[in-house]
Amino acid sequence: MRLKRKDILTIEDLAKDEIELILSTAQSFKEVSEREIKKVPTLRGRTIINLFYEASTRTRTSFEIAAKRMSADAINISASSSSVAKGETLKDTAKNLEAMNPDCIVLRHPSSGAPQVLAGFIKCSVINAGDGSHEHPSQALLDLLTVKEKLGRIDGLKIVIVGDISHSRVARSNIYGFTKLGAEVSVVAPPTMMPSGIASMGCNVKNRIEDAITDADVIMMLRIQLERHKVPLFPTVREYSRLFGLDRKKLGKAKKDIVILHPGPINRGVEIASDIADAPYSLILDQVKNGVAVRMALFYLLLGGSRE
C-alpha cells in the first residue's frame, strides 16, 4: 500500500487503507520525536510553506516542528504579514509562491474549499490545515491515532462529538475518519448548531449529551468558538456549559473507561470542566504529541516519493 496522491485535502477523499497507512507511518514517526536528536535527514532540501490565513499557533507550530524534524525547510507566512492583507487573490499568491518552487504548501484558510482551489492552481503538494467549516484532515488523523493507540482499535467503538457541529471542520473530518474505520459516531449539539442533513454523513444525531454518553467509548468536546458567531447561537455561555459542557455529573453516566478528546485550545469551564481536562482519561496532550507524528507522516508520504 502506497499513498498515491498529490494533496491531502479531506478525509472524505481518503480510502480506509490510505488512512491506515498514514496512521501506521505516524506510529513509526512517534519514536523519532523521542530521540535525543529529534531530526532525520529524510526531506533535506525540501521546502514546505505554512500559509496561514487564520491565526493558529498550535496547528502551525505542529506542522513546523514536523517539517523541521524531517529536515525540510519550513517557511511560515501568515495573512497579517503577507500580501493577502494588500488584497492579492489566492491564485496570485499561489502562483507567486509556486515561482519559488516549494514542495508542499500547508494551507489554513477561513474559506471552505480554499485548499482545493489552491491545489487546482499549483503543481506542488497541498495539505489542508483546516478550511472554514469544511475539513481539518490532520486533526482527525491525530485523533484517530490517539484513540487507536489508547484503546487498541477503532472498529466497533462508539464516538460522541459534542459542540458546534455546524461550524466545525474537526467534526466533519472526524465523522468521515471514524466511520471509515468502522466506528459509530454520534454528534451532539443544540439544534442551532446542528447543520442540515448531517446524518447523511453516516452519523447519529442527538440533541442531549446525556442520551449519547451512556455507551460511548470516546467523547470529543469541540471548542466553542464565540468569535465565529455573528449572532450567538445559544443564550449564554453559562447555559451552554450547563446543558452541553462536560462535567463530573454528566460523566457519571458514562462508562468508567471512557476517554476524552479535545482539539484545543480548551475553554476551561465552558465546554469542559477544568478537573476533567486534567484527568488521566483526558487524552488532550497525547493528541498534541500525535499531531507532530501525523504531520511528519503526511510530509513523508507526500514528499517521500518521486516528483514525477
Binding site: T89, S112, G113, S133, E135, S196, G197
Partner: protein, 437 residues
Amino acid sequence: MNRILIKGGRVIDPVSGIDGLFDVYVFGGKIAAVKPSIPPGSPLEKGGVGDLDDWTIIDATGLIVCPGFIDMHTHLREPGYEYKETIKTGAMAAAAGGFTSIACMANTNPVNDNASVTRYILKKAVEEGVVNVFPVGAISKGLKGETLAEIGDLKEAGCVAVSDDGRPMMNTGLMRLAMEYAGLFNLLVISHCEDMAISAEGVMNEGFTATRLGLKGIPNAAEDIMVARDIALAELTGAKLHIAHVSTKGSVELIRRAKDNGIRISAEVTPHHFTLKDEAVIGYNTNAKMNPPLRSQSDVDALKQGLKDGTIDVIATDHAPQDIVEKEIEFDKAANGIIGLETALSLSLMLVSDNIITLPDLVKKLSANPAKLLGLDNKGALKVGADADVTIIDLNKEWIVDSRELKSKSRNTPFDGWRMKGRAVKTIVGGKVVYEG
C-alpha cells in the same frame, strides 16, 4: 426599403394561435404578412413589390419561426462595470441566444434610479445594441431600500418595470409604498424575494451538500417568506407583482394559490434553476454560485410543474456576467450569478423534449408573456403590424457550449462543455437580421 421573406418554416405564434407551415413577410421593420404561401415579389403592401433584388429570402424549411424572445431579467453591467459586460456585448449575446429584446436590471453604477441613467442606457442601446433594450428602474434610491426612486420619471424616460433586483427589499413598509406608487403608472414591480435575516451569510442551498462542503446554507424559507409577504402586499395594494427567479417549491405553491385567489401576480424561473441542483456546487464550483442558489431535486420538480401548469409565466435568464477575478477565488468570496442569454433556449428546449411543456408553450413563456407583463404592445406576437422581431430556431442543431466562444464579455457559465440540441440560427430585430448561426 428592407424586405424579408421567411419561407417554409413552422411558424409558432401563440398569440395568434398559429402553429403550422407559413411564410412570414417583413417590410419596413414590421410584420407585413403571415400566410401559407407568399411567392417572392407578391404585391403585399402599399410600398409595392419594389426591386426584387432588395428581397431577402430566408429558407426556413425544417426550422421554427417564432416571435422574438424577450428576456425580462438581464444584467448588462453598463454603466459602471463595463469590464464584465457592456450594452453592446450583452446585446450581441442576446441576439446569439435568440433574444430580440432584453430588460436590464438597475444595479449598475450609478444605479438606474433616475431618468438620466435610463436615458444613457437607451442612447447607448440605440447606438451600439443589436437588440431592443428596455431598462428596469430601481424601486429605491441607490437600491438602498430606504426611499423611493423617481419612479414617475423613470417610467417617462422609458423604464418598463421597477425592481431592486440583486438587493432584497427588506423594508416591508417601503415595498408597500413602491407597489402603491408603481400602480399609478401601471408599472410591474419585480421582486427579488429573499429574507436576508435568514439567508445571512449563506452562499448556497441549505442541505446536505452545503453541510458536507462546510458552506453556509440559505434555506428555502428565506425565499418563501418574502414571496408570501409580497403576495400579501400585492393583495393589499392591487399592484402588478412579478416574482423574479423563483427557486423553491414553496414559492411555486404560494404563487399558484395567489393566482387562484385572483391576485395580480406573475413569476419567472431561470433555466439554471430548473436544470441544475445544488450538487453542481461540489468541487467549490463558483460558476454554480448564484442568488437564489441552486436548490434540491424536489424544488426542480416543483419549478417544472409550475411551468407546466402555468403558475410560472416566464422563462428569464438572470444573465449576470462576472469577471474571472470575481469567480476564480474562494467560494464564499466569489460573486453570484452566471451568464445565461446564450444557453437559455437550448436548456429550455430540454423541457420540450422531456415533455414538460409544449413548444408553443415554451415560445409563449419566452415571448408573449414577458411582452404582456412589460407592456410591450407591439412585441411578442407575429401579427401583422407588430414589430418584426423574429427568432428562427433549428431544433436539431447540436452544439457544445464553449465558454470562450460565447458573445458575452464574461465566461461564467456552469454549462461549459455541455452538449446541447436546438439553437437560434437567425435573430431578426426590427426587420434586420442581427444574428446568423
